[in-house]
């Protein structure tokens, strides 16, 4: 049997999960990353293990993917997830009117919901706005994005994958099956030969594809988040309304992450943090949990959603599902790009992408990642 070699570019949650998937199928795989793990979008996302409820009404495909992956990940990385569920809270009449649509959509997507009274909600989360009308409980969770990614990398390396951080792609030649990297840690250039190249560089995917003369329909949309120095809640708090700005609060250790907003960016390496976005997030958080805006800020970050450019929907309504592009159509057989998605569905994106890679290699090995538990994130070193 021929020894195939796949190169994956980008060690965010997508690239890490693909590397893990391929390694489990017995394929030799090298993961290349210009920085360290999760240095891009994955690293500074809002750390929410989605139940999918947020997307049930506007993006049911993504919602179904989320709840399925939520269930799977609970078994794969049981010891690195904080699973206290989440609440969608109604603070005004309009939210109560939206409730019926929301509950029906969740039911359609197989997302379990539980209606909670005002009194019960305030008992679960005493810092909630006391004017709250009612709430709905859903199986949201919290992950640590860095450790989430490390868990996939550690397991992949245990199964024979190679991880090359601080190796930056400077040239791509899919026809010759070559990826040229500058190895920053050794200050030299190296050419890596392979049979398949998978571009999983998130918002930088177009830049990578461009090195092979190919353009990718990616529309990066950044979102600002603010972390404050106090843990306001144990459950993820969401506003019971159509997805909008500042409608989620996620607990993370001794802090709370308030998010998010939406701004178009040209260059994912240059995302401004408009002060207006920060104050708006604090204001909206105040509404859900009074006093949030008075808590000192620990840090601010902006993550770029790697959205698929689709003429049918924009901005907040753009689908959060993913797409895998086979560049054989662009004259570069053996070169694939995967864009879109969410960290919650990284394993699923990896399964679909790895299936396509295996087809390309003529290998018939099924995906094993649904049931294979991940090892300790610390073993990545």
């Amino acid at each position: 049997m021929k020894n195939h070699h796949v190169v994956v570019i980008g060690a965010g949650s997508t690239g890490a999960a693909i590397t893990h998937d391929l390694a489990l199928r017995g394929i030799q795989v090298t993961l290349i990353e210009r920085f360290g793990p999760a240095a891009g979008t994955t690293g500074h996302n809002q750390a929410q293990l989605h139940s999918g409820a947020r997307y049930a009404v506007t993006d049911p495909t993504s919602a179904r993917e989320c709840i399925e992956e939520n269930r799977i990940l609970r078994k794969l990385m049981a010891n690195t997830l904080e699973l206290n569920d989440g609440l969608f809270i109604a603070l005004q009449e309009e939210h109560l009117e939206y409730r019926k649509t929301f509950l029906e959509a969740c039911a359609q997507c197989n997302i379990p919901t539980q209606e909670i009274s005002r009194a019960q909600a305030l008992q679960m989360e005493p810092r909630l706005n006391p004017d709250l009308l009612s709430a709905i409980r859903i199986p949201d969770g919290v992950f640590d994005p860095y450790r989430f990614t490390l868990s996939f990398i550690a397991t992949a390396c245990k199964n024979g994958a190679t991880f090359l951080p601080f190796n930056e792609v400077i040239a791509l030649d899919p026809k010759r099956g070559q990826v040229t990297v500058h190895q920053h840690d050794q200050d030299k250039t190296k050419i890596i030969g392979c049979d398949v190249i998978v571009n999983a560089a998130g918002p930088w995917a177009p830049r990578i594809a461009a090195q092979a003369g190919i353009s990718l329909p990616l529309e990066p949309s950044a979102g600002v988040m603010v972390t404050i120095q106090e843990r306001l809640c144990n459950m993820v708090i969401n506003l019971l309304a159509l997805p909008g700005d500042g409608d989620i609060i996620v607990p993370q250790r001794n802090t709370s992450i308030l998010g998010t907003t939406s701004l178009t960016v040209e260059d994912p390496d240059n995302i401004p943090i408009p002060p207006g976005h920060v104050s708006r997030l604090q204001e909206l958080a105040d509404w859900m949990m009074p006093g949030a805006s008075r808590i000192p800020v620990r840090g601010m970050m902006a993550a770029t959603r790697p959205l698929i450019k689709d003429s049918t929907s924009e901005g907040r309504l753009a689908s959060r599902t993913h797409r895998c592009y086979d560049h054989a159509e662009d004259g570069a057989a053996g070169f694939f790009s995967v864009i879109g998605g969410k960290t919650t569905t990284a394993r699923h994106m990896a399964e679909k992408t790895s299936d396509i890679v295996c087809m390309q290699l003529g290998i018939n090995v099924p995906c094993k990642t649904r049931t294979e538990p991940l090892v300790s994130h610390r073993l990545w070193i």
């Binding site: 210009r34 920085f35 360290g36 793990p37 999760a38 240095a39 994955t42 690293g43 500074h44 750390a47 010891n79 690195t80 997830l81 904080e82 699973l83 206290n84 919290v142 640590d144 994005p145 860095y146 450790r147 601080f166 930056e168 500058h182 920053h184 840690d185 200050d187 988040m225 972390t227 144990n234 993370q252 250790r253 001794n254 802090t255 992450i257 390496d269 620990r298 840090g299 601010m300 970050m301 300790s376 994130h377 610390r378 073993l379 990545w380 070193i381």
Partner: protein, 194 residues
Amino acid sequence: MNVAEQDYVLDALEAAWKQDPSLMFRHSCHHASCGSCGIRIQGREGLACITPALRADRPSVLRLEPLHNFPVLADLVVDMGSLAQKLERVKAQVVTRSETGERFENCIECGLCISACPISATNEYYLGPAVLAAGRNNMASPEVREQVGSLNGVWRCHGAFECTEVCPARVEPAAAIIHLRKELLISMINRKEK
């Protein structure tokens, strides 16, 4: 280079990186949750993402160095393997469960405490502050108890308190070590009395 008033050291590093893409440093969450950006700033351990670049009591030329007590790979990147291995040896949890729910442990495994610890500087076998604090949860395990109570466990600490001083995550390792010593002493005395 020019930095804005509200910029952090990490922002300055990224600006430097844009001029020289071979500059190596770690970063991920940008809000002091991942612990990957630990370095020394003007000789003091800190997380680059939440340390302001400009401060009235600091010169405008910042000296940035990698953490102490870990092998340097290049520039500001160190090999954190020894910390990872020691944490595994004391079975350090990432998430703990109690009646109030689940909770990520405070420790973000950034290594600042190890870098600041004068004992870790001279003894690579010393488990170190983060590891001992984590081990405190697992003293029911005989293997962990043995390691924590060994000569390279809590008894190696000299009470410098540098660890608690630099910890960005309110772990308070120095206090944990003191409590562990007390617990171990009491059980040693109880065994002698039997």
